[in-house]
Amino acid sequence: MIRFENVTFFYQARRPVVENFSLEIPDGDRLCLSGPSGEGKTTVLRLLMGLERPRRGRITGTEGLRFSAVFQEDRLIPERTALENVALFSDDETARAALARLGLDDVLRSLPVELSGGQRRRVALARALAHPCDVLVLDEALTGLDEAASERCLAAIRRAAEGKTLVLVTHESAHAAALGARTVRL
């Protein structure tokens, strides 16, 4: 069980991004953080993954957990191909399967710069889905994808998230519903 206990976080002392935030995420939970832009959803994800430390309060239950994530930005290594980007955090066979599941079999050898925005997003998602983890974190992972691609990605996420904790941020309530995620508003 992951617990946020009265967590406060700020970059500048007078303007906390997250204030007295408490949350419980049981193992295997599917959770969607929602709310207007700038309310600290991404910051909560960063705190969860250990990229930021709470200024006040504490987060427990994350020790020893393996994370996998899609960030707001694609964060693909520019000099590596789509396949290499995914395989770097899994293995060749799993990476190929993850890319194929997202309809990317024909761009395995392409560099990120050669891909469209939607393709890059799907490579980033494939990387997260192929990586063995306990907690899957998706920050607006389906942004910029058309309906057909989104459906395909949702199916792949459902499959990959089985038995894992899933925490996502999305503005599409239908996506959260399709993944069976409970919603927490910030």
């Binding site: 993954m49 250990g50 990229l51 393996r66 994370f67 996998s68 994530a69 960030f71 930005e73 964060r75 290594i77 000099e79 770097l88 955090f89 560099l111 710069v113 050669e114 990387r127 990586h131 974190v137």
Partner: protein, 249 residues
């Protein structure tokens, strides 16, 4: 690509013809003839046929190469140190700026007082290349994509592996540019130092002797050797450091 090569070859031929025509015209009026491309090629062939020329060229290359290698190693280490510890960068910056701005001839004359002649060209090559490597590698480290480093850390990659897989490949283009540019500069400044301090068994000294003997065809031939070697070294360095990676289409 092939088209570009043809254009470059055509441009080279154009300048060779212009040189030939200019030399022929000038030689009708001047007492000391200007060597034509053919004279230069003949002198080059003559020099290339002697063992002493190759020994001299090798000695120059070794001397300058040592200074260059030391500059690459120390420049890279100092760039990493200055990005790791801010105070190190602040303290070193005035010295690096000085190294960049003082002309080669001035430094050569200065170090002439303290270093044996044989060491000066290598030292000058070091002084020329060191600030180039330092500033380029430091820039590469500064521009390393922190987003990628964060991503790799979240995916459980260790610090050493992040350095190998993410940080170093990001710095690589800056390092390659520094090495390729530095090689050309090292060669040119090193030979200039050899000329100024007449280092024994050196291309610079050979150039000076040819000039003293009014053997201008040899002066031109040696200049051609220096220019060709500089361009070739730069190309080889770029190819080696690129090492099979392909550019985006």
């Amino acid at each position: 690509m092939a088209r570009k090569r043809w254009h470059t070859a055509a441009a080279v031929v154009f300048w060779l013809l212009l040189w030939q025509a200019g030399a022929m015209l000038a030689n009708q009026r001047l007492l000391i003839p200007i060597p034509t491309p053919a004279d230069t090629a003949a002198a080059l062939a003559r020099l290339g046929g002697t063992g002493r020329f190759w020994l001299t060229a090798g000695a120059s290359a070794a001397r300058i190469g040592a200074g260059f290698l030391l500059a690459v190693l120390l420049g890279t280490a100092c760039a990493a140190a200055s990005e790791r510890w801010g105070w190190f960068g602040t303290v070193s910056e005035p010295l690096v700026r000085l190294m960049r701005t003082v002309p080669v001839a001035v430094v050569t004359i200065l170090v002439f007082l303290w270093l044996p002649r044989g060491r000066i060209p290598g030292f000058i090559a070091f002084l020329t290349v060191f600030p180039i490597v330092w500033s380029n590698v430091a820039q590469g480290i500064r521009h390393a994509d922190q987003g990628l480093v964060e991503m790799a850390a979240v995916f459980g990659m260790g610090r050493r592996e992040i350095l190998r897989q993410i940080t170093l490949p990001g710095i690589r283009p800056y390092f390659t540019a520094a090495v390729a540019t530095g090689l050309g500069f090292a060669w040119k400044s090193g030979v200039a130092a050899e000329i100024i301090c007449r280092t024994e068994l050196s291309l610079g000294s050979m150039l000076w002797s040819s000039k003293s003997a009014v053997a201008y065809d040899e002066v031109f031939a040696l200049t051609a050797v220096i220019v060709i070697a500089s361009a070739a070294l730069e190309t080889v360095a770029r190819r080696l450091l690129k090492g099979g990676r392909r550019d985006p289409v």
